[in-house]
Symmetry: C2
Subunit: 361 residues, 2 copies
């Protein structure tokens, strides 16, 4: 045996020894998780505890494995340890392979059982009826054309927001005939969100093409697939095959870190993890200074806002509806004081929930 072969053999023996130790520790971990299960009733998953574990290990990691790998592997280890007692079940929008399913797996790991829902109305109802433990719904920057309805349903549901998921999304330019020069494309179809997100690329590469917003990226792909015109669609990879389209340009979004944000809803109230957000919906009167009055307490208490978005109200009870994300947990004193003040200055407040900030991978 030459020197290299001998060293290879030694290294492989080292790895086998490490694997034996990891295997033993994984089973010890599952056992301890099982004992915790016997202390509790109902859902064993604790969002704040998972977030704390992942933050701590990412921080403690000295490499050479990158932090993203550490977070990914421990998410899956926790998912497997939880599942052997009783897997978490999660409702999500759309079929196997949808972005929403990817968000479920990113948050709960592969051992989570997925329930695929055909309609947005089903998702909340299924969790409300305890058919699944949680629901994962897109709330921001979604190209599925559905965010408005979700926001309305969030106001109506008795469920609590108890987690957030950030999913990177990429856009492709899809055409029927891959040999068509870009300069001959006359129209580009997509959801308005996607057209906006690919603005610079379209200016540079398809200045001549008319941009036509449609209800969803899937709908754009369908239109282009069914037409013999020199049209293109902007959509994700998922939309290409079913409509016989080819991706002739990939990752054409202007921002490389383009993400869709999802919220996790369930019956449980997430306890503070040390790094949390609170989401709320607020209705205010349409009078001068109303928004300013609403936001003053945040500045006074030094509470940051990570999102403020207005939406037309569905009813005439109030005039504007705002969706607000605050930094901090509602059980923190300054956040509680801010919520108290916001209540005074609004017609209606619904706190959707406080939950750990997502652990990035």
């Amino acid at each position: 045996m030459d020197d290299t072969a001998q060293r290879l053999k030694t290294l492989r023996q080292t790895i086998d020894g490490i694997d034996d130790q990891i295997l033993s520790l994984l089973n010890q971990r599952a056992q301890a998780a099982g004992q915790i299960g016997h202390l509790k009733t109902g859902v064993l998953y604790r969002p704040e505890r998972e977030a704390q574990i992942l933050h701590r290990l990412k921080e403690a990691n000295s490499g050479p494995l990158p932090g993203a790998s550490v977070v990914f592997l421990f998410r899956e280890i926790m998912s497997a340890c939880l599942a052997y007692e009783r897997p978490v079940s999660v409702a999500c929008l759309g079929p196997q392979g949808s972005f929403s399913e990817a968000a479920v797996v990113r948050h709960f790991g592969h051992a989570a059982q997925r329930r695929h829902c055909d309609s947005l109305g089903d998702i909340f109802r299924i969790v409300e009826a305890n058919e699944t433990d949680f629901a994962v719904v897109p709330v921001e920057n979604s190209t599925e054309g559905a965010v408005g309805i979700i926001l309305d349903q969030m106001v109506d549901t008795p469920l609590q927001a108890c987690g957030e998921v950030m999913l990177p999304i990429h856009h492709q330019l899809l055409v029927r005939d891959a040999s068509l020069p870009l300069s001959e494309i006359t129209q580009v179809y997509s959801h308005s969100q996607s057209l906006g997100q690919c603005h610079h690329w379209l200016d540079a590469h398809l200045p001549q093409a008319r941009r036509i917003p449609v209800t969803s990226n899937s709908e754009a792909a369908r239109l282009v697939g069914n037409s013999s015109e020199a049209w293109a669609a902007i959509a994700g990879d998922l939309a290409a095959e079913p409509y016989g389209l080819y991706a002739v340009a990939r990752h054409i979004e202007d921002q490389v870190d383009n993400t869709t944000r999802f919220l996790v809803f369930g019956h449980l109230v997430a306890q503070p993890s040390g790094k949390d957000k609170t989401s709320l919906v607020v209705g205010v009167e349409n009078r001068p200074g109303a928004i300013h009055a609403l936001l003053t307490p945040l500045a006074e208490e030094g509470v940051s806002m990570s999102r403020l978005e207005s939406r037309p109200a569905r009813t005439h009870l109030w005039s504007y509806v705002f969706y607000i994300d605050l930094e901090g947990h509602q059980s923190e004193e300054r956040v509680a004081r801010v919520l108290q003040e916001i209540k005074k200055n609004s017609i209606f407040v619904k706190v959707l929930g406080s939950y750990p900030v997502t652990v990035s991978i």
Copy 2:
């Protein structure tokens, strides 16, 4: 603090201690894998070594984690350890979310880089040109209507088969109008494979409906989605959303363990793992006794055959083409003797490769 809270705290501290040890071991493992990387050139992935590690750990596992979780977690640990030096790149058919991509992830773990190909011709060419390390292609029981072409391409490519993947596949009954009673459905469209696989369910629930085979399950969904007739399609979840269809019955396949089989192709020759298969393509003359003569050596040497399938030959050089999977590695003496005998009794033999039997999860 009451007794339960105290016990919970102690168990959580135990888990934190275990996690610290796992984290340290994961990094030690990545370091050792990196040192192996410096001993070698080219692709670091060794199919036989991975299979041996997974078999060994599944065997050694004493629980409570199930074997499937152990295999899943170690597949991902190996994937992450390999990726931090240089990720494996793999070409697969279809868009993000396709069954082929799921097969790549199941075999190479999440850290594998995926290259999505629009056509079957591209897949082999990309690996032949060293643009990716491997290709994963469906070879059996695929509902993508493409197996025939793949089989022909396997004969032409200089690449070696170096792994297999088994992916569970589920079928759904998809319709446009979810309120349509099953008894009113007049026609069911699907790939003939899928119609066959749902035979019993169709007999019991849709006896009146005509079964119409089409080129792929996606095509079936497209036809049903574009028609206002009382038609249904059988397809996977992926096909529902793009065509505006609803799954009104799920997992309607007769066999619960319905799987699609994929082969992994690359430049490397997999060494024996101790539990291997060998795939070959054989051309024989169309004369009485030809097939019997071909198979006699297998019986004599006690080599099992896990698959035998005939296909019409593309040319007139020979009359029948058989695809055969043998148990064992071509470097084993009795397998080598069988291959020698088969060569004598055929016009043409191509050994696609020997590779480890998939480690089931």
